[in-house]
């Protein structure tokens, strides 16, 4: 299915390119960039389950290609991604984006695979629902798979309206036997259940209204279709499997920007035949800028997450506080550090995270990432599986 989509897109791309040649008179421009990443992840503790590794060296490629024509009102945007890893399941390939974009005064139309982000908070991304999470890529859920879509966006005096037609569902990626961040039983990525008889081809729709007025940035969204977050089910025949229900989700995201304070709120109401629940993340970010004229900014972040669900959801944030700090040195090398801790308010569980990056020269970047799972409570259904998965990662990125 996925392969079929890719073929259709490549054919569409070639025919567009051909059309371009015939017109001839229009100016077109294109750019090609490539990013090569070498990642080394080392897990500090012996694995919880048989077959898991401790050291994961891997290589990833991110080529991007953009072709623009007719005064840049038309463009083709491609972002590829490929990783080779010790864990066979983490070795994967994807088109993060592969879409045609038409821009006309106050509206734009996108056709193809695209990434869309909604939301304002830092520790949790509740409202963001268009793309499936590439969960084996990163623990923070910020890596996404390309979503096939038709998107129409229009700017009016009353705000921006976005309409999405999403014809195909993509399954969440899950680790293989050697991989960390997994359950005792390996959930086969392809062995999934769908509520819809159309399975991955259920035709989903979504819309979003957003507006910025004075210090307010508001977003209201609605999604109907196959959920992006699987429900883990135990089945006597198939064992443990991921099940994707049909959901309705209403989302709200709001940010109030007041001097050095950013006040943030994200909230969702999701209903399906299996469950109905609300969840929200609320918090603030305060930045002390240019401390003693050093150029250094220190941001302080505090967020609280609540989720009405409890058992067997792929979320660790039910009643948790996130405290973090973002330090930007604003130097020539763009050095920055993000430190944070997520504390469960009912249990002892804590997750400590560090992300730091610095450019070297003009085409190399170093990234450091660390996660420490500390005092994970035994009654944490989801997190207890990862209690020995504290790791440190060093990544070198080279840009061409």
């Amino acid at each position: 299915m996925q392969f079929g989509l890719i073929v259709i897109l490549i054919v569409a791309f070639l025919s567009l390119g051909h059309a371009q040649e015939r017109e001839g008179t229009n100016r077109s421009s294109h750019t090609l960039d490539l990013e090569i990443e070498m990642e080394n992840r080392f897990f500090m503790e012996a694995p919880s389950f048989n077959g898991q590794n401790r050291y994961f060296p891997s290589v990833a490629l991110r080529p991007t290609y953009t072709l623009e024509w007719e005064a840049n009102d038309n463009s083709l945007n491609i972002e590829g991604f490929a990783r080779v890893d010790v864990d066979e399941e983490r070795t994967h390939f994807d088109f993060r984006e592969f879409y045609y974009l038409k821009v006309s005064r106050n509206w734009e139309l996108s056709i193809g695979l695209k990434k869309i982000f909604w939301g304002v908070t830092e520790s949790n991304h509740l409202v963001d629902i268009i793309n499936q999470t590439d969960a084996i890529e990163s623990f923070d859920g910020e890596e996404k798979l390309g979503q096939p879509m038709l998107q129409f966006s229009i700017n009016t005096k009353q705000g921006t309206f976005d309409f999405f037609y999403l014809p195909y569902h993509r399954k969440r990626t899950l680790p293989g036997e050697k991989g960390r961040f997994r359950f005792p039983v390996i959930i086969n990525t392809n062995n999934v259940g769908y509520e819809s008889a159309a399975k991955a081809w259920h035709q989903d729709v979504a819309m979003r209204y957003s507006n910025s007025f004075n210090s307010f940035d508001l977003g209201l969204s609605y999604f109907y279709g196959t959920g992006r977050e699987p429900v883990i089910q135990f089945n006597s025949e198939a064992g443990i499997m991921a099940f994707y229900p049909i959901i309705h989700q209403v989302g709200l995201d709001l940010q109030i920007t007041n001097n050095a304070f950013l006040w943030k709120l994200e909230s969702i109401y999701r209903s399906s035949t299996l469950q109905k629940f609300i969840a929200f993340t609320a918090g603030l970010e305060y930045t002390i800028s240019n401390i003693n004229s050093s150029g250094i900014d220190i941001g302080l972040i505090g967020e609280y997450s609540f989720d009405e669900r409890d058992a067997l959801t792929l979320s660790a944030l039910q009643n948790d506080v996130f405290l973090g700090s973002r330090i930007a040195f604003n130097d020539v090398q763009d050095t920055s550090i993000l430190l944070g801790v997520i504390c469960d308010l009912e249990k002892s569980s804590k997750i400590i995270g560090v992300e730091a990056s610095r450019r070297i020269g003009s085409t190399i970047k170093l990234e450091l990432e660390g996660r420490i799972f500390s005092s994970i409570a035994v009654n944490e259904n989801f997190l207890s599986n990862f209690k020995n998965d504290s790791f440190i990662g060093l990544t070198i990125l080279k840009y061409f």
Binding site: S210, S289, N330, Q333, D334, S362, Y399
Partner: protein, 253 residues
């Protein structure tokens, strides 16, 4: 008699102070008026950062500006290099009064973030330019005092209205023979010590009316670092509208 003399001296002083303020404001307004009507422009920039040892680092960016009369200008800045920040862009709605509205686009996660425009005094991408040095220069953002006329140069002291500014004052030299274009700005830090000097050179006249410098040189006298900003080209025929300065436009930059 003494009292009368004091009153006269004082009122003369107040009179000259008021006159200097008016003259300073007049010059700033004249400079603003001379630049009215450009509507919109796009320019390609190269920024060269030099540290005290002479080591050099470069940035490439593109700046689009939309002129607004009733409120401050809108601008869109897109980074093209270094490559790890390629596609990162900012959208700014300048306001004549109050805080500017600013959004940042992070291309790797396709996220638009509304950011605080509080950080006026901080360095822009590690350079010697502060954010406030590069934001739209609205007359309302300063109070003025005329200092002196030096041949064709009119020197005006400007005091930032915003208490978050990193400066106590700027000393600006306007060229009265060339539509009040700025030739030089000296920046004084919060302790009123000379911090930086910005020199404009390589001026070109566009559309027979708008002077634009092709080279801006900012020297920091305290850190001995230097930033050169080259405007490689200016396009005043782009006919940009509000639709080019939306969050959608920011995302597709």
């Amino acid at each position: 008699m003494k009292k009368v003399l004091l009153t006269v001296v004082l009122s003369l002083m107040i009179y000259t102070v008021a006159q200097a303020q008016d003259r300073g404001l007049e010059i700033a307004k004249a400079a603003e008026n001379a630049d009215l009507g450009f509507k919109s422009s796009v320019s390609t920039l190269k920024m060269v950062l030099k540290n005290r040892n002479g080591q050099v680092s470069e940035r490439a960016l593109e700046v689009s500006t939309l002129e607004l009369v009733e409120d401050g200008d809108k601008s869109l800045i897109i980074f093209n290099s270094p490559k790890d920040v390629k596609g990162t862009s900012t959208l700014t709605y300048t306001h004549k009064q109050g805080a500017d509205d600013q959004w940042l686009y992070l291309p790797s996660i396709k996220r638009v973030k509304r950011i605080s425009s509080n950080n006026k005094s901080g360095p822009f991408v590690g350079s010697e330019f502060a954010y406030e040095d590069l934001s739209s220069q609205e007359v309302e953002k300063y109070t003025y005092k005329f200092l002196k006329a030096d041949n064709h140069l009119l020197v005006v002291e400007q005091y930032p209205v915003d208490p978050k500014s990193g400066y106590t004052k700027r000393v600006v030299s306007y060229n009265k023979d060339a539509e009040y274009r700025i030739e030089k700005i000296e920046f004084y830090d919060r302790k009123n010590a000379l911090l930086k000097t910005l020199t404009y050179s390589g001026y070109n006249l566009y559309k027979g009316k708008y002077w634009r410098a092709s080279r801006l040189n900012m020297v920091n006298h305290q850190s001995h670092k230097e930033t050169l900003l080259y405007f490689l080209n200016y396009d005043f025929d782009v006919h940009l509208t509000d639709d080019h300065f939306t969050q959608n436009a920011l995302k597709r930059s």
